[in-house]
Structure formats: structure tokens, C-alpha cells
């Protein structure tokens, strides 16, 4: 295949960026988007040019490292699929594909296509955990969690932390991410204890770091983990519950 890759180049957060066009030849439809970038980089390095910086690690769709905007869409053309699992078979031979970083006010560009998504971790740091020290846990078989509830918790826990939902949202809201974590932990027996404080603190930090949610729903189409739109409702539910109960749990 032959593709023109129009790529955002930016040296660092402090410098200005611009697009540059590159011709990629000899790639196959079975290539992933990131393998296409590998090949382009090999080409660039052999010509003595700067390779394109981008984040990736597992290349299996589970670590959440990768994430680029492809023709205006976070992760690329195929719905609910991370960048590392997008394949060139989605593009017509000879076409031009535009690659840019995840765009969002709270993501600073590190270099070229790599961005800083540490805001997502600051939300977790605010309360997305269970305050249980090593060695103090009760027997996991002593509490029952029905099969259905465990499956539900797992559906919500599937988020890979890629941050595409934020990039897709016209407001830059992180509510899909926040809601998924709140519902996951609210379902597990031992992590319920801090349910209200968790909701209060996580939502507070999310509001500081990211935008409000206006229920556009664009996050759901790009989410590689298939987190459902109901997770967003979870944010309001958990917050309301906290206000009504006015207690820690």
C-alpha cells in the first residue's frame, strides 16, 4: 500500500507544532497503524530525519499507552478499538491519513503524537482505591458477590485508562472514565466502605482537571473497553447519593 501520512510535529510542550506530509510505501493492509509508524520511522532515521514520537507498549489493546487522533477521530476509524489495533485495511490505497495527538486542554503535548495524561491518575489518587493494607483483608470467599455483580464490576473495571473518551468529548469531560471507576468500586464488597468520600473527591478533582459532561456520548464510540454510557449516569448517581447520605460510605 501507499499512503500519505499527514503528521503533527511538535518538539516539546513549549514549542509550536505544525503538520508535515510523509509518503509511506510498502506497507500492507495487515499492518497496524503503529507498525506503519514504525516503518515510517525506520525510513526517516535512515534518511537522517527525526522519527515521529508516539506512545505505545503492549500493542494488544490493554495497557492504554497508545492513543492518537486519526482523521479527527481518537484512536482511528474502527469503533471501540485502540490505536494499536487499528489496521491499515481501514484506509484506501493511496489515501491521505491525518495523524495528530489526542487533543484536549488538559493533555499537554510531550512531543509529536505523545501527550501527558497524568490528570487521569490524579483522579484516582483522589480516592479511586480501597484503604486496605497488605495482610488485613478478610477471606475473599467469606463474602459473596453474585456472578452477575462480579461480571458487572468487571464490565466497569475494563477501562484501560487510554483517555480517548476525554479527547473525543467536545467539552473534554472525563466522566466516562470517572463513572466507570466509581461503579466498579461501588460494586465490590470491600471497597464500598469509602463510597461517598470517593465519589466526592474523585468528582471534585475531575471537575478541576477536565470539563463538564453534556451527554454528547461521543466518548462511548471511541472507548476501546466498551464502557457503556450508563457509566456517565453513575457519576451523578454516586455524587447525589453522597450528598443525600452525607456519610463516608
Amino acid at each position: 500500500m501507499k499512503l500519505t501520512l499527514q503528521i503533527w510535529r511538535q518538539d516539546s510542550a513549549a514549542s509550536e507544532g505544525h503538520y508535515e506530509d510523509y509518503l509511506l510505501v510498502g506497507a500492507g493492509p495487515e499492518f497496524t497503524l503503529l507498525e506503519a509508524l514504525d516503518k515510517l520511522n525506520d525510513q526517516l532515521v535512515s534518511e537522517g530525519k527525526e522519527p515521529v514520537a508516539f506512545d505505545s507498549d503492549c500493542r494488544e489493546g490493554i495497557c492504554g499507552s497508545c492513543g492518537i487522533t486519526v482523521d479527527g477521530r481518537p484512536h482511528g476509524p474502527v469503533e471501540k478499538t485502540p490505536s494499536c489495533r487499528q489496521h491499515l485495511r481501514s484506509f484506501a490505497d493511496g489515501s491521505t491519513v491525518r495523524l495528530e495527538p489526542f487533543r484536549n486542554g488538559s493533555y499537554r503535548v510531550v512531543r509529536d503524537l505523545a501527550v501527558d495524561r497524568s490528570g487521569l491518575d490524579r483522579i484516582i489518587k483522589a480516592g479511586g482505591y480501597a484503604s486496605i493494607d497488605a495482610g488485613t483483608a478478610p477471606d475473599a470467599d467469606a463474602h459473596h458477590l453474585t456472578h452477575e455483580k462480579a461480571e458487572y464490576a468487571l464490565d466497569m473495571a475494563a477501562c484501560i485508562g487510554c483517555g480517548a473518551c476525554v479527547a473525543a468529548c467536545p467539552n473534554g469531560s472525563a466522566n466516562l472514565y470517572v463513572g466507570a471507576k466509581l461503579l466498579h468500586l461501588a460494586t465490590m464488597p470491600s471497597t464500598k466502605a469509602e463510597r461517598s468520600t470517593r465519589a466526592k473527591e474523585m468528582v471534585r478533582v475531575a471537575e478541576e482537571e477536565f470539563g463538564p459532561c453534556s451527554l454528547y456520548g461521543e466518548c462511548v464510540d471511541v472507548c476501546p473497553a466498551g464502557i457503556p454510557i450508563t457509566a456517565i449516569a453513575g457519576v451523578n448517581r454516586e455524587k447525589l447519593r453522597q450528598v443525600l447520605r452525607g456519610m463516608a460510605d
Binding site: 516539546s12 507498525e35 525506520d42 522519527p51 500493542r59 495497557c63 497488605a134 458477590l145 468487571l154 468500586l185
Partner: protein, 664 residues
């Protein structure tokens, strides 16, 4: 090359000469304090004798933990909970992204709840036997004992383990065992454990007990007065290289399987931290022990960046076969039953498709070499779910393996509900690692190791689902006892000063190392060397090895290394985000590592587990161990003259008597 050998092989002169040029034989070393305590009670006894640090004194100690995978995140969080100052480092931008996140199948625990005959002793037996008697027995006992707490703890901090309809934890079975002791969360066990562990770590960051450095890579170890005193690290965004000192250092930096370039590991996994500690004096144990995972996706294009792994749990319901006729290119669904060879079920009736990984990988390789491989490159075998779907229905299969099936479809464009999957052996797990004693301490006092970066539990072959376990056990339930025991003696001594000569020296070395790479100014980027190194290793130090191949491998690695140091091109600046520079440093270490792997494989003149020397096999093609001469772990030291010194830790097997591995 003889098929069946009798007695010890006499090493051909050329090999012996090559070996002698590269290594000398050193002294025996002891991994544990000798005692009369039976293996099963060793851990309880050891814990009883560990020194303690009182809660008020703990904050006087600083511990550096490199790596935030399951082992590192657990260790940093647990030490933080106890009250120590912890400095945690990861080259990832977030702790959750550590490679542990990718593990699919599950985590073992010897809870023995079911009436299927499981117990601590059975767990130990399976583990020791699976590792072909090249693991440390007491470590396996500790692994078994602490596995119980691991499940409780990980459940409590948020990992939603699969549950039965009645609400109890569900289990399944994995390769190499006949009981059901694997706990799982669909096909995302690693993700759920890793996310829970990183949340626990972030809780400590919020409390202020752990200081987390993301996008920061360890480049060197600082050793002062013979003790680990800190690390040198590079901020990957600014390029700044700085020193960090501490009373103890823990390396939980994962495995080195990526030396093969196409491996199942995350692309950034590497050996640098461990190897640089090795250069500073830490012994490297059993580097040749690499597991090839039997259910990886076959390579289909030159530019493929890795081999994707399909969880071994698929072997519970999937049946592995090849067409009986070599070169049969028919659509698999049209090949009638009597023309299929379910070779694992045929050769190993007791374990069938659930034989251990090394056995299954070798069997697949045999079929492929014999021309019965399938797929466009004839480099795969079938993993077929037709019968399971017929028996259990599509819905059950979907629930058990849904995301794995999706992943397969996505990678290959084929639908495994309809067409059998194609799988092949791929480089996967490193059983070797920095040598450590029973307290997880390396040969450098104050330098500890945890998780896949260490060597102790798995012997020559890791059983499925024992690795997440070992990472969790080390992180949460071994290092938090052993590290304080070491610190207790240091009470009153400050952590090394930043202006100490050793610190300045290590900083200079690290900066010099970066300059050395950029100064070459050649024509080829680091990835080109890495790809070639990988191909070379698959060929010479792969699923099966022989002396001649290995000797040739060593020479080829050396030639490639020479080319690297004269023709590498590192594009870009050193004072900013530069992924080429990161890769260059890692490939430089891989080249030395590859030499050491081939050397260890050549040196170990026996077959054991995943280390299969074709010169040593039984008439039926099974690995032939040589307990008389090789019942020890090799621990390699780098001599001052550049040669290696091989130390030996003799291995004792008391509770699991030595026997020939047999899965028939």
C-alpha cells in the same frame, strides 16, 4: 548429533575452547541460611527470625523501588503502608501501564478449597516438577503459602475475580496441573490485578509515603562500600540525568523476553535495569531459561512488531491438531476427523492439551519442522473450538474467552468461532533473572529483586499463572519482611550523600554512556539491530538448541555487537524526549545479554524444561536432565577481564524427590 545419548556427553573441543575463552568456574554459593527446619515450615521460621524496625524509626529509611508492575507497585505500596519513605520509579507515564497489565489467563493459589485433591504440597510438587527441578524448593513453598493471602488481598483492593453463581470465587485449570487452582477475571487477570495494585500505590502517593517518578528510567545502580546505595535515572521528558540515594534498592523491572524482538511482551519491557546492576556486581542466574509460549499468534509480516499471545486457558477447551498429511492446504473445516492428528492428546493422554508450555511448544515445533505446519507461512498449528462449541454452546465459550476471540479476529481477520485458530510458539517468559537469595537479596547487599526480574520460583519452566502470583507474593508478602530485616542494621546511618564520590562516578558513567551512543554517528537506527538480534536468537537459542548452533550464535552476536558500536545512529537530541535514544540504550544491553544467554545455554550441557539441548533427549524425544552434573542454578558474575565467572547454587529437593518429568 545423536538422538539418544547415554552417559555424559564429551564436549567437542571447539565448544570447550570457546567456553573457556568466555568463562571460568567460580565457587558454590548458598541461597539460604542452612537449617534443620523442614521446607514446608521454612518461611514461618524465617519470618520469626527477621529483625524488625519499630514504627517510629521507619520513616528514617528511604527505599527505592524501580518498577511499578505487580511486584513493584505491591512492594512500594506495602512499604509505604508500613511507614517507610519510598521513591518509586517507572518509565511509563502511569503505573497502571506496566507490562503486568497484559497478562490474561489467571493467577494460581493453593487454597485447596475444592475436593479435587489440591493442597500446598501439591502446588509445590507441580511447581517443582513443572520447572524440571531447577527451582529453589523452599521458594516454591513460600509461594504456595502466601498465595492464599494474595487472593484475599487483591480481591479486597478491587480486583473483581470471576465468581460462581453461588457467589464464591471461581477457578479453572491451567497447563501442567490436573487440579483447578487458577483464579481469573475473564481474560483480563493481569489488568485487574495491575489496576488494583496501581490504585493501592496511588493511595500511598496521596498519603505522601510514596514519591512516584513516572517517565523516569533507571540507567545505573550506585554502589557504595559494597552496598546498593541508590540509582541514576533519566527523566525521559527533559533528558535530565540525576542521582537518587537510599538505604536499599528494589528492582522489580520485569523480564527480558523482548531480547527476541518478536515476543509476547510489551514493546518497552527490557533488561537494562537488571543488566546494569549485573555490571555493578549482581549475579545473573540461569539467563538461558526462556519460555516459549505455545499459544502465540504466528508471525505473518516482516514488520510485525511483536507476537500476540492467546491465553493458555484456551487449551482448556480448545483442541490442538495438525493435518496428518504434510503440506495439506485444505480449509481446516473440510479435513475429516481421521485425517487430523491431535498430537498432544495422542502423545500425552493424561494431560493432553494441558501439557506444560515447554512440552507443548516443542511438540508444535516438531510438527512444523516435519512439514505439517498450517497457515500461509506453514508456521502454525490449529487450536480448534469446534467440539467445545458443540458441547457447551457458543454462549459459554463467549463468556469464557470472548475477549480473546475478539483479539484473535482483530489480529488475523478470521473468526475463531468458525475457523480454527492458528497458534505457534513465541518467546515469552524469562525464568532467569538477577540471582537472589531466599530473602530476595542479590549478591550486592541492599539490592533486592522481585517479580520476573528475579529467578527463584520457576526453575527451567514456569507453570502458567504462577508468574502473576510470584510478582504479587514478592511485592506484598516477601519484600516487606525482608527489606526491613536488612534495614534494621542500618539504623542511625544516613542515606548516602548526593555528593559522595561513588554517586558522582555513577552519574558520570551514565552521562558518558549516553554520549557514547550518540557519538557513534553511524547509519542504522537501534530497531534494525534489535530485529536482527531477535532473528538470530530464535535461530540459535530458541525452542531447541545444540552446541554447534549456540557457538555460532555467540559469534554472530559478537559480530552484531561490533557492528552496533560502529554503525549505530541515534537520531535527535539527548536533552529531551527521545525514544531512539531510549531504544539504543536498551539494545546495547540486549546485545550483551544475548551473549550471556547463549553462553549459559552452551555451558549447560543437559536438557531441562524450556532449555532443550537436542544432544540430550530420551529416545522418545523428551528432555533428558542430568542431575548428577547440573543440579544447580548458574549465577554469572562479570569478571574484571570481561570474562564471566559461573557460580553454582546447588539445589536440594527434599519434599519433592527428584524424578523424571512425565506428563503421559
Amino acid at each position: 548429533m545423536t538422538l539418544a545419548d547415554t552417559g555424559t556427553r564429551v564436549r567437542p573441543a571447539a565448544e570447550a575452547q570457546l567456553l573457556d575463552g568466555l568463562r571460568t568456574i567460580g565457587s558454590d554459593i548458598a541461597g539460604m541460611i542452612p537449617s534443620d527446619v523442614p521446607a514446608a515450615e521454612f518461611w514461618t521460621d524465617r519470618k520469626l527470625h527477621y529483625k524488625l524496625v519499630s514504627p517510629l524509626n521507619r520513616r528514617k529509611f528511604t527505599v527505592i523501588v524501580v518498577g511499578t508492575g505487580l511486584a513493584g507497585a505491591g512492594c512500594a505500596a506495602a512499604l509505604g503502608e508500613l511507614g517507610y519513605n519510598v521513591e518509586a520509579f517507572t518509565f511509563h507515564d502511569a503505573p497502571r501501564r506496566a507490562h503486568s497489565v497484559a497478562a490474561q489467563g489467571g493467577i494460581n493459589a493453593a487454597r485447596g478449597r475444592k475436593v479435587d485433591g489440591d493442597s500446598l504440597a501439591r502446588f509445590v510438587k507441580d511447581t517443582i516438577k513443572g520447572g524440571d527441578f531447577r527451582a529453589r524448593e523452599v521458594d516454591a513453598w513460600r509461594l504456595a503459602e502466601e498465595s492464599i493471602r494474595v487472593i484475599d488481598h487483591m480481591d479486597a483492593i478491587g480486583a473483581p475475580f470471576a465468581r460462581e453463581y453461588g457467589g464464591q470465587l471461581a477457578t479453572r485449570s491451567f497447563g501442567g496441573v490436573q487440579v483447578s487452582r487458577t483464579y481469573y477475571t475473564r481474560g483480563q487477570t493481569g489488568q485487574q490485578l495491575q489496576v488494583a495494585a496501581s490504585q493501592a500505590l496511588l493511595r500511598q502517593v496521596a498519603r505522601g509515603s510514596v514519591n512516584l517518578h513516572t517517565r523516569t528510567e533507571m540507567l545505573d545502580l550506585i554502589v557504595e562500600d559494597g552496598r546498593a546505595a541508590g540509582i541514576v535515572a533519566r527523566n525521559l521528558i527533559t533528558g535530565e540525568i540525576t542521582a537518587h540515594t537510599a538505604h536499599a534498592v528494589v528492582l522489580a523491572t520485569g523480564g527480558y523476553g523482548n531480547v527476541f524482538f518478536k515476543s509476547t511482551l510489551a514493546k518497552n519491557s527490557n533488561v537494562t535495569a537488571a543488566f546494569r546492576a549485573h555490571r555493578r556486581g549482581a549475579y545473573f542466574a540461569n539467563p538461558a531459561f526462556i519460555q516459549f509460549h505455545p499459544t502465540s499468534l504466528p508471525v505473518s509480516s516482516e514488520w510485525q512488531s511483536k507476537t500476540i499471545l492467546m491465553s493458555e486457558s484456551l487449551r482448556n477447551d480448545g483442541r490442538i491438531w495438525v493435518p496428518k498429511t504434510p503440506g495439506d492446504t485444505r480449509d481446516p473445516n473440510t479435513i475429516p476427523e481421521e485425517e487430523r492428528d491431535y498430537y498432544l492428546e495422542r502423545r500425552y493422554p493424561a494431560f493432553g492439551n494441558l501439557t506444560p508450555r515447554d512440552v507443548a511448544s516443542r511438540a508444535a515445533r516438531d510438527e512444523i519442522v516435519a512439514g505439517r505446519g498450517v497457515g500461509p507461512l506453514k508456521n502454525a498449528v490449529y487450536l480448534d473450538f469446534r467440539d467445545a462449541i458443540g458441547r457447551l454452546g457458543r454462549k459459554v465459550i463467549e463468556e469464557r474467552y470472548g475477549n480473546l476471540f475478539e483479539m484473535y479476529t482483530d489480529a488475523t481477520g478470521e473468526d475463531p468461532y468458525v475457523v480454527p485458530m492458528r497458534i505457534a510458539p513465541g518467546a515469552h517468559f524469562a525464568m532467569g533473572g538477577l540471582w537472589n537469595d531466599y530473602d530476595q537479596m542479590t549478591s550486592i547487599p541492599g539490592l533486592f529483586v522481585g517479580g520476573e526480574a528475579g529467578w527463584g520460583y520457576h526453575g527451567a519452566n514456569r507453570l502458567g499463572a504462577n508468574s502473576l502470583l510470584s510478582a504479587c507474593v514478592d511485592g506484598w508478602f516477601t519484600l516487606p519482611y525482608a527489606v526491613p530485616h536488612y534495614l534494621a542494621d542500618l539504623l542511625g546511618s544516613p542515606k548516602p550523600a548526593l555528593d559522595a564520590p561513588e554517586v558522582a562516578g555513577a552519574l558520570d558513567d551514565a552521562r558518558g554512556g549516553v554520549e557514547r551512543l550518540t557519538a557513534i554517528g553511524g547509519t542504522q537506527g537501534p530497531d534494525r539491530f534489535h530485529r536482527r538480534l531477535g532473528d538470530l536468537l530464535y535461530q540459535h537459542c530458541g525452542v531447541s538448541r545444540d552446541g554447534e548452533l549456540l557457538a555460532e550464535g555467540i559469534r554472530s552476536v559478537q559480530a552484531l555487537r561490533e557492528e552496533f558500536w560502529s554503525d549505530l545512529r541515534v537520531q535527535g537530541q539527548t536533552d529531551g524526549f527521545n525514544q531512539e535514544l531510549e531504544r539504543a540504550g536498551r539494545v546495547a544491553d540486549y546485545l550483551d545479554m544475548a551473549e550471556l544467554m547463549c553462553l549459559d545455554a552452551l555451558d549447560r550441557d543437559e536438557s531441562c524444561g524450556a532449555h532443550f539441548r537436542t544432544e540430550h533427549q530420551h529416545p522418545d524425544g523428551e528432555a533428558k536432565r542430568d542431575d548428577e552434573n547440573w543440579r544447580f542454578a548458574s549465577a554469572w558474575e562479570r569478571g574484571a577481564d570481561g570474562r564471566y565467572i559461573r557460580h553454582q547454587e546447588p539445589l536440594e529437593f527434599v519434599s519433592v524427590p527428584l524424578e523424571t518429568r512425565n506428563y503421559k
